[in-house]
């Protein structure tokens, strides 16, 4: 089964994303397994032992930035599609190369759904 990774240090946000993605999965009748991590260390551990088709990474994490995760992921799993989740996408203009897309925070339902499908090439 396809696996995706969600990284956010705020549980409230992770829960919201999971529910939103489950809603999309149900609507589109696709099967996806969701892993979650709350920080960079956790995320990298998961990347080292799992294969992900996509990941959505919060840029502001307690032990680093989403870029730290994207760098490792790009090296280990070059085919993985990576989205950055951030309030200020313009702050990361110079690091665009690590990401396939930027998702805006706080999350808006419609645009998150559309972008999630694009991220998965659906």
């Amino acid at each position: 089964m396809k696996k995706i990774l969600l990284v956010d240090d705020i549980d409230f946000n992770l829960e919201f994303e999971i529910k939103l993605i489950k809603n999309i999965i149900e609507e589109k009748k696709i099967e996806i397994e969701i892993d979650t991590a709350n920080n960079v260390t956790n995320a990298i551990e998961l990347i080292n032992s799992n294969s992900y088709v996509a990941m959505i990474v919060d840029m502001h994490l307690p032990d680093g930035s989403g870029i730290d995760i994207a760098k490792v992921a790009r090296e280990k799993q070059p085919a993985t599609r990576i989205a950055a989740l951030t309030i200020y996408p313009s702050q990361y203009e110079d690091q665009k190369e690590y990401f396939d897309m930027f998702l805006k925070k706080p999350i808006m339902l419609d645009s998150y759904k559309d972008n999630f499908l694009k991220l998965l090439n659906i």
């Binding site: 705020i10 409230f12 946000n13 919201f16 529910k19 939103l20 489950k22 809603n23 309030i87 200020y88 925070k105 706080p106 999350i107 808006m108 339902l109 419609d110 645009s111």
Partner: protein, 429 residues
Amino acid sequence: MHLHNIDPLTKLISRNYLLDIIKTKLEHPNVMNKLSLLYIEFDDLDRFNDLFGYDIDDQLLLQLTKKFQNIVDAESVVARVGNYQFAILLYIDNIKEKSHELAENIIGLLREPFCIGENMFYVTASIGISVLSSDISDAYKLLKTAENTMRKIQKNGHNNIAFTKLLTDESLKKEIELMKDLPSAIDSGEIYFVYQGQYSHDKKKFVGAEMLTRWNHPKYGYISPFIFISLAEKSGMIGPLTIKLLIEASKMFERLEADGIKDFSLSVNISPVVLMEKSFYDTVVFLLDSYGLKGKNLTFEIMEDTISNNLDSFAKLLNKIKDLGINIAIDDYGTGHTSLSYLINLPIDYIKIDRSFVTGIDKETKKFLLLKTIIEMASTLDMKVIVEGVEEYSEDDLIKMFKDMTIQGYLYCKPIEEDEFMKKVYLDE
């Protein structure tokens, strides 16, 4: 005039043609200190496409163009110089004052919502002004200086209202800063929720609570909800804030149920800006399904003053929401300027009588009689009543004369944080 000199959407002149016009003006004698340029950039108009559908930005640009054309004089030139960028060339005496005045007028225009179909939009912008002088002496420099000024202040405003140096003052700076901080405050939980209990005289206990939003800003401290809710409405953040509020309500329902407290109602304020968003209904359906809010005693409070004049479509929307099992309450009843006919046309469960009809009922007979009449009217129309702003025992004693009254006021409960509120509810149970 060549076609490429005209913007096909707005029919305004283009950037290059504007430069040509400035060059022509420069040939006039005594033009120094009589010529200025306002560079206006609108923030993120395409975000509305996400919220309301395709090409709303184009429609907004057309309305903005019309408004600009209405406020400039015949001597001024309006141009569309970029996707969301406009420039206005002014040629007039007292140029600094006049440019300042025009920029303020434009910002004033933006304080009013734009209406497209049934939707309402608040648009924000940054404006940079340059005045022809010995330092800024050619067409390109005039345009570029205004643009650069705009960029500089835009950084402070970060996609929100920002003003040129000329217009900045302390309160506006604060407003800009608050607007910039709003998204992260919502995301991080810096904006939080408190509960004000609703007490039933008949049942002698709390039967519900209104959830209220609070923001303790790290630099400015307590920010009045009137201020930050209005900023959230202007900056497109009211949607995410409302989602958070509704999710928090679902958690509170869970907690109440786990503690054996049943039939408890939670009310949340729904801004007309959110209500009119195309995606709002779907968002509510998603939250109801995914967060177990279905079948819960949830009430949407809508301020009387914001009831749309377009009653038919408003009623349709509220009926759809009611069909989801959500109650509708009219907040601040008696303060609006709307025709009372909405009481018949809208599916209203509760009316919340504004404090101004309650304070002093123990001292003024006429006031008491007015309150009595409102309560009787509501009961005749099969609506329940919540009386707001009860602060004195003598006021409360008079309200006890009526059946089935629910009281929301400091006398019974101030807005307090969740744990403290739960203790209060337990004590009554």
